[in-house]
């Protein structure tokens, strides 16, 4: 969807136009699922994604400013709320069904192996680092977008991405060793 189209759709979605809401869902659901998949845990991704869209439905009528940033702020709050209730640290173990539900399998097994290794490595990061890695490298956001969503300044984002990549690399080397 083009940005100009998205703006029109958003205007209608804020009036609870069913067609516009369906388009918003179709456009953002895969992205949000991917965010939750790597940010939290594969087994919880759909549950958390559904929760995000429930909150979107409840408050889209009063949404202002950058929609995508608003959406990911909701996602952050969902994760925080869930963690409060579940005291959920991201789980370390790789679920048995991890290999199911993966697409983009151009390289087949190699890609899935990489995803399993990375998911384990991600679970070893602290929450802030994991969030940044998911946003910046897995979803491809730029620093400005991350700053808007997280409220951090650009210097802090640059410092954190250095530490996060270093930690990830260390975990992966340890695991391989």
């Amino acid at each position: 969807m083009k940005d100009s189209d998205l703006e029109k759709v958003l205007v209608n979605a804020k009036k609870y136009d069913r067609q516009a809401l369906a388009l918003i869902c179709e456009h953002y659901y895969p992205k949000m699922l991917k965010f939750m998949y790597y940010r939290v845990h594969p087994s919880k991704a759909e549950d958390f994604t559904g929760e995000v869209f429930l909150k979107v439905m409840k408050s889209i009528g009063t949404q202002n400013g950058n929609f995508e940033a608003w959406l990911y702020k909701i996602a952050r709050n969902v994760i925080i709320d869930k963690a409060r209730y579940d005291k959920a640290r991201p789980e370390v173990e790789v679920p048995e069904d991890f290999e199911q539900g993966m697409t983009n399998g151009k390289d087949g097994t190699e890609k899935i192996d990489a995803a399993m290794d990375i998911n384990y490595a991600l679970s070893q990061l602290n929450e802030e680092q994991r969030e940044l890695v998911t946003m910046k490298f897995i979803l491809g956001m730029n620093n400005e977008e991350i700053c808007e969503i997280t409220g951090k300044n650009p210097g802090a984002v640059r410092a954190m991405q250095f530490r996060a990549l270093s930690s990830l690399r260390d975990v992966m080397i340890k695991k391989d060793g």
């Binding site: 009036k15 609870y16 136009d17 069913r18 067609q19 809401l21 369906a22 388009l23 869902c25 179709e26 659901y29 895969p30 699922l33 991917k34 998949y37 790597y38 594969p42 991704a45 759909e46 994604t49 559904g50 869209f53 429930l54 439905m57 409840k58 009528g61 539900g101 993966m102 697409t103 983009n104 399998g105 890609k111 899935i112 990489a114 995803a115 990375i118 890695v133 490298f137 897995i138 491809g140 620093n143 640059r158 410092a159 991405q161 250095f162 990549l165 270093s166 990830l168 690399r169 992966m172």
Partner: protein, 255 residues
């Protein structure tokens, strides 16, 4: 630029702009050894596969949207009034998410079974894809028949009367009837007898079930049989099983 954190950020931006890893590292020879593993790690992250949305997950979100919209009641909107392109998009969506196999397997599922939500989802999409009002009415009739078959199957399996399925059966027939009255006369003349026939069969089926039902269920079945009889046109207080129903159709065998 001496700070390694800033240099890393710059390298990432250069990679993003299409430079190769070697080209980027050549620009920072003093830090190349430290930067290489970090940039390689970033490259691995970018190649991670997308998770595949499940039908259930998507359905839950759609149901959430439908439920919330109903609660908010901000704007009355006809769910199935999307333009053609969106209908095509929805068809692609269901083929991607559900797949032919899953849909086919779900076709024989009963309420309470794992595949049943997929069956309902598929029906909704088919209704959504129907272009003309006449086609939509036809589908409503088919779905009402399908609910009746499910109702009978569950009842014969000793699981009693499924009130949700019973309601769905009546509701589909009601919507078919209401929509038919808005059709041109020629179409109306063709479809009304079909709805009358369907209602007759449903009424006699419900009365047959009533014979074997519990006292509480008997009351519900009698009430619903009467509704069907009114739609059939015989308007008997006892449903189409009564002698004064002029319909000559027979009820489907309970299997």
């Amino acid at each position: 630029m001496n700070n390694i954190e800033d240099i890393l950020d710059q390298c990432l931006a250069e990679l993003q702009n299409g430079k190769t890893l070697e080209e980027v590292l050549a620009g920072y020879p003093d830090h190349a050894e430290e930067l290489r593993p970090l940039l390689e790690t970033a490259a691995v992250l970018k190649e991670l596969p997308d998770p595949e949305p499940s039908v259930n997950g998507l359905m839950e979100v759609m149901a959430t949207m439908a439920g919330e919209e109903h609660d908010l009641a901000v704007k009355k909107y006809r769910f199935f009034s999307r333009p053609i392109l969106l209908r095509v998009a929805a068809a692609i969506l269901i083929l991607l998410f559900a797949g032919y196999g899953t849909v086919a397997v779900s076709a024989n599922s009963l309420p309470g079974e794992m595949m049943y939500p997929i069956k309902l989802f598929t029906e909704k999409v088919r209704l959504f894809l129907a272009v003309t009002s006449e086609n939509k009415v036809e589908l409503r009739i088919v779905y009402s028949e399908e609910r009746m078959k499910e109702l009978v199957k569950k009842f014969n399996n000793g699981k009693g009367v499924d009130k949700n399925v019973l309601n769905a059966m009546l509701d589909e027939a009601k919507q078919a009837l209401e929509s038919t009255h808005k059709l041109p006369d020629d179409d109306k003349d063709l479809i009304l007898p079909r709805i009358s026939n369907l209602s007759h069969i449903q009424s006699t089926t419900l009365l047959a079930m009533k014979e074997k039902a519990s006292p509480e269920e008997k009351e519900i079945l009698a009430k619903c049989a009467k509704i069907c009889a009114q739609r059939c046109g015989c308007d008997s207080d006892d449903g189409c099983g009564a002698a004064d129903c002029s319909s000559s159709r027979s009820a489907p065998a309970q299997q």
